[in-house]
Amino acid sequence: MAEKDRTDREVTLGGAALAPGDHLCVFHRGRAERDRLLIPFLTEGLRAGDAVLYLAAEGERENFRERLGHVGDLVLTEPDSGHLRDGEFAPDALFAMLDGWSRRKLGTGDHPFGRIVGDMSWAAPRLGSGLIDVLLAEEVAVTAWGQGLPQVILCLYDLDLFGGDLIIPMIKSHPKSWMAGTLVENPYYLSSTENGHHPHFERRIPS
């Protein structure tokens, strides 16, 4: 599970190559643009034998199951059955789910590679400075956690739903971002060591 080297498999998003351990913040405008990126990305992984976990937006699970064609190892969840507890964000539950899934799919050798995608639309109606801080800590922690695993992680943010108050912290916390149709890297992203004011995130990182 500690394999960090690039695999020889092709992992692409919108034509741009990704590397194992990448954690991307993907900004898109509307669901149509999202799907133009996401469907090929997930299909590519399923056809290559990757394990795929998609934390879909509310009400979209079955739609994606149909569109992805019931092939490969695909796990689809929605916010209420994953990272929301009684309508509130539950970061511990999210981490538990992510880590458990990775251990099952990648740790057993059944799948050489994993793809995790989270649609963050659920956060838009709940957004406030408190949630932004929690999300920021979560993203930083996920970046640290995912760097050691043969997988890529995409967090999808709809620019029609979110403003600069969320976008800038997310950009600051992701080493790579997809925006305006291109993949950009941020060598100055905030790593866990620069986020000591969020003391709880480190404990979520699996050992």
Binding site: F27, R29, S129, L159, G163, G164, D165, L166, I167, I168, P169, I171, K172, S177, M179, A180, V184, N186, Y188, Y189, L190, E194
Partner: protein, 563 residues
């Protein structure tokens, strides 16, 4: 303008690696937001991105945001209504410049004037409990510069999009015009080609059907079908009453374009003011549009030319015929009239009779001429028709059955007419004489007791000499002098003594021949002749009496109109 004195400066000692990394990361955030602002979104969305980014880059919040359009109109953005009530006025006082805004609530405020290449595009007012640091102020300034550029770009983009919309509309209009012109050119080419080909009315009807895919009817002004194009030709062809037809044509003639009448689109064929017919598209499903209407109306124009041409030809030929007849009956060079007759398809080398006729009643001359033309056609006669001195003049080639001609004309015009027939002409030079004879025979017929009917000049016999036209009264007086008593007797007694006497004299005084001709018994004849002698007190064996009585009975026969 910068908030000198307001911002909090940080010393070099505070700028650790971590600080630089955070500052670079913030700048990267501004860069990312800028990229998003330039992704083609509208001005309000750009301003929303800028306004919501402020707290992420500084300890400030956005107090209010205003968009300024190219005309200078200010539009407060979402949230501006919750700002201090004096804020908008204070922003306006800055007159498009950035600057500090001081209000009674004691908050620190700064208005960023968002200026681009085309001037002011908006204002973003930030607020904080304390003035921001110079680093934060730098980040906010950078954000606002990017916002102003994005707003300018958006305005240009929107302007181009509006222009593109206008251009697209113009292109659409142009394309529609070109398409319409193509269709009209096709209609023009097809119908003009058909018209020039001499295909006539049926060709026009067929071409119009090909152009519109609708059945086509061409009717004359009376509603009779002249030509049909396409499938579904009704048989028999329906025809409305005369009054309804006249009302329809009158109504159509008041309208400048084709009109729908039930399942038809109708256009009048009307060169100048005369209606020559009707062109109709049969369209029960009402599918015809502007193109079909154009084709119909152009078709009616072409048809009007065609029918006018046909009419002009007919009128020219009629004129030529009339001129020729006029020249022939007044006398002209033989050779030239042969050539002229051949030009209109008439063989003048055959023997001819000149016929002159007049018909009583309210008939216009044209009607009598037309009826005469149809009558001679019906009888299979080769003829030339004209009008002269108020009468219809007919030059008939070959044998002429006067009774048949009179019967045919009576059928068309009624029985109140007279026909005079001149003697046979073997050369055109004799036609003037034959014409004079025909006129003479007509006048004698019209002045006789039975004025309707026909009279051949040859049948007048000695009467031709005795009644020259100028002495008609003398002739009548002569007849009365010799036959007056017998005529009175016949009238009183409803007898036939004059007819008996005439037949007796025609038979040279033979009792047997006369009785046989009159189909009476000899004794009856003898009785009648006895009564004649008593009434006239004349000796029928006296040569002078016998000659005068014979002449008188001949004149009586002519004057009576019997043949």
């Amino acid at each position: 303008m910068t908030p000198e004195g307001d911002v909090v400066s940080r010393g070099q000692e505070a700028r650790t690696d971590s600080w630089w990394r955070a500052q670079l990361s913030n700048l990267y955030g501004v860069f990312a937001i800028s990229m998003m602002m330039f992704d083609g979104r509208e001005a309000a969305d750009i301003m929303r991105l800028a306004a919501t980014s402020v707290p992420s880059l500084s300890g400030c919040t956005t107090d209010a945001a205003y968009l300024v359009d190219e005309g200078g109109a200010v539009t407060p953005q979402d949230g501006a209504e919750e700002a201090h009530p004096d804020l908008a006025a204070e922003v306006a006082k800055l007159d498009g410049q950035s600057g500090r805004i001081e209000l009674a609530d004691g908050h620190w405020r700064w208005c960023y004037a968002l200026r681009g290449l085309r001037g002011l595009t908006g204002n973003l007012v930030v607020r904080a409990e304390q003035p921001p640091s110079s680093d934060e102020f730098f980040l906010l300034g950078s954000l606002c510069q990017q916002t102003a550029a994005a707003l300018t770009n958006s305005a240009s983009f929107m302007r181009e999009r509006r222009q593109a919309v206008v251009q697209r509309e113009l292109n659409d209009q142009l394309s529609a015009s070109v398409e319409r012109l193509k269709q009209q050119t096709l209609v023009h080419d097809v119908l003009s080609t058909i018209s020039a080909s001499g295909a006539g009315e049926s060709g026009i009807a067929h071409a119009l059907h090909q152009l519109t895919a609708l059945p086509v009817a061409i009717e004359d002004q009376f509603g009779n079908l002249r030509a049909w194009g396409g499938p579904g030709r009704p048989d028999p062809y329906p025809k409305v009453g005369v009054r309804r037809r006249e009302e329809l044509l009158r109504h159509l003639s008041t309208l400048p374009e084709a009109v729908r009448v039930k399942d038809r689109l109708i256009s009048l064929v009307r060169p100048r003011h005369e209606v020559l017919g009707v062109l109709a598209l049969i369209d029960p499903a009402r599918t015809a549009g502007a193109y079909e209407v154009f084709a119909l109306e152009y078709g009616s124009t072409v048809l009007a030319l065609e029918l006018s041409h046909q009419r002009s030809l007919a009128e020219a030929e009629l004129r030529l015929r009339r001129d020729l007849v006029d020249d022939l009956i007044t006398g002209t060079d033989d050779e030239s009239v042969y050539a002229r007759a051949e030009a209109i398809g008439h063989d003048l080398r055959r023997p001819h009779h000149v016929v002159v006729l007049r018909w009583a009643g309210d008939f216009a001359e044209d009607v009598v001429v037309e009826a005469t033309g149809r009558a001679v056609t019906t009888l299979g006669l080769a003829s030339l028709v004209s009008r002269h001195s108020g009468a219809v003049v007919l030059l008939v080639a070959g044998q002429l059955d006067g009774a048949a001609l009179y019967a045919s004309l009576s059928e068309k015009l009624g029985a109140e007419g007279a026909i005079g027939i001149g003697s046979r002409c073997d050369t055109p030079a004799r036609l003037p004489k034959s014409y004079a004879e025909a006129v003479r025979a007509l006048e004698i017929r019209r002045s006789s007791q039975i004025s309707s009917g026909f009279t051949r000049f040859e049948q007048l016999g000695i009467y031709r000499i005795l009644d020259t036209g100028q002495n008609h009264g003398d002739v009548v007086e002569f007849v009365h002098e010799w036959l007056g008593k017998l005529l009175d007797y016949d009238t009183r007694r409803n007898a036939e003594l004059v007819a008996t006497l005439a037949q007796y004299l025609e038979c040279g005084g033979s009792y047997d021949d006369t009785a046989a001709a009159l189909m009476i018994h000899r004794s009856t004849l003898r009785y009648r002749l006895g009564r004649i002698r008593e009434i006239t007190e004349l000796d029928l064996n006296d040569v002078n009496s016998r000659l005068n009585l014979h002449l008188a009975t001949r004149m009586w026969q002519v004057l009576r109109g019997s043949q």
